[in-house]
Symmetry: C2
Subunit: 228 residues, 2 copies
């Protein structure tokens, strides 16, 4: 049976995706991959590995792209050596379309690598956890982006790979609810961009996550420094 490649970061979106796919793909083996691209919150990878283990992924690997953080640190706050991660409430409205936590062209690179890996293994389907950000945005998490990436890949003259992002239209609160139905262990997911011992609760992704759990009426099992 044809395998599927699934990108997991250890964050809540791709974790919900992973558990969704385990049900949705039936017995198709899942090859999960994560990337260490020098992100400040590389501790998310511990959660990724844990979740891959929970679903008995046929394969799990972390691809070491730490060179990439050094290459783009001048243009992002998300990697070691980059600018400081801002608090969500310090962002100006004009920054929300592409906040400082955007990583230059990261997703195109990650999907390229995942598609290459899939193609070499004779796998046709790659899944990633893009979803509709509620509080800010990234162009490389949009349906347009997905569509255009697939138009590139479709040019392959032998067995093109397709990228799928089944959560792309979903808001974060919907993912919390979906995760609840799938019994996702959210205590073993990591979001905080600052990557400290405890989630900060004030960076853009912590704020978005906390709002999503509140909107879904579900308690977030993670402790937050801002709530102590």
């Amino acid at each position: 049976m044809n395998s599927a490649v699934v990108l997991i970061s250890g964050g809540m979106d791709s974790t919900v995706l992973l558990h969704h796919l385990v049900k949705d793909l039936g017995r198709r083996p899942i090859r999960a991959i994560s990337f260490n691209y020098g992100q400040r919150h590389a501790r998310e990878l511990i959660c990724a590995e844990y979740q891959a283990g929970l679903v008995n992924a046929a394969d799990y690997r972390v691809i070491d792209l730490r060179f990439f953080g050094g290459l783009v640190s001048a243009g992002t706050a998300l990697v070691e050596g980059g600018g400081e991660v801002p608090d969500m409430d310090s962002l100006h409205a004009s920054q929300l379309a592409q906040p400082p936590t955007y990583v230059p062209n990261r997703n195109m690179m990650l999907l390229s690598i995942a598609a290459a890996y899939a193609e070499a293994q004779g796998i046709r389907d790659v899944y990633y956890g893009a979803q509709a950000h509620d509080e800010y945005g990234y162009w490389d998490c949009t349906a347009d982006f997905l569509d255009r990436i697939n138009r590139v890949l479709a040019l392959n003259r032998r067995d093109p790979v397709s990228i799928h992002a089944p959560l792309i239209g979903k808001r974060k609160a919907e993912l919390v609810a979906m995760g609840g139905r799938l019994a996702v262990d959210f205590a073993n997911t990591w979001s905080c961009y600052r990557g400290g011992e405890v989630a900060c609760g004030t960076c853009p992704t912590c704020v978005e996550r906390l709002k999503a759990f509140a909107e879904a009426g579900v308690p977030d099992p993670l402790p937050y420094a801002s709530l102590e």
Copy 2:
């Protein structure tokens, strides 16, 4: 003045491109980059560094992607650990659209990384040496591919990067002629996919290169094992 990022492999196409751009871009600084993706012919990188030095590139770096060779070796003959590089005359006509020397989704990945680097540096233009292969083809060297990659990048909400491939319509013999006009030192370019001490003369790129020089009426300064 805005810099340009130029991908150079050490092969004849990107070397001609580099020397062409030095003239064409006037005083705009050139940041040259190469990739070690586990290719059998990594010795091409010695030529790339030499050529970057010849044109006084403002920056030259080799990005270490050797992990990639391992990731895709099941699907290509071009990397260490992959299948054997075939002789050109052993290829069946049905293989010419995508021969075994094609590397799964390599160019999309390399361009993604180059675009990320450019974006982080505030650079808008990335150049690569795609040209019209005469003897066989790669979908990720076509004008369609370039166009579709640029449609992805155009979605960026701040200062999109563009990829340019000014040689994309040119046949190899035209590049030899163009290189001649630019006084390109072809003795310090490397093509042979097998990557041995001396170019083999029989692999697809050696055959294509030899035909191109012959068609242009210029002697290829490289020695070839097949011609000894």
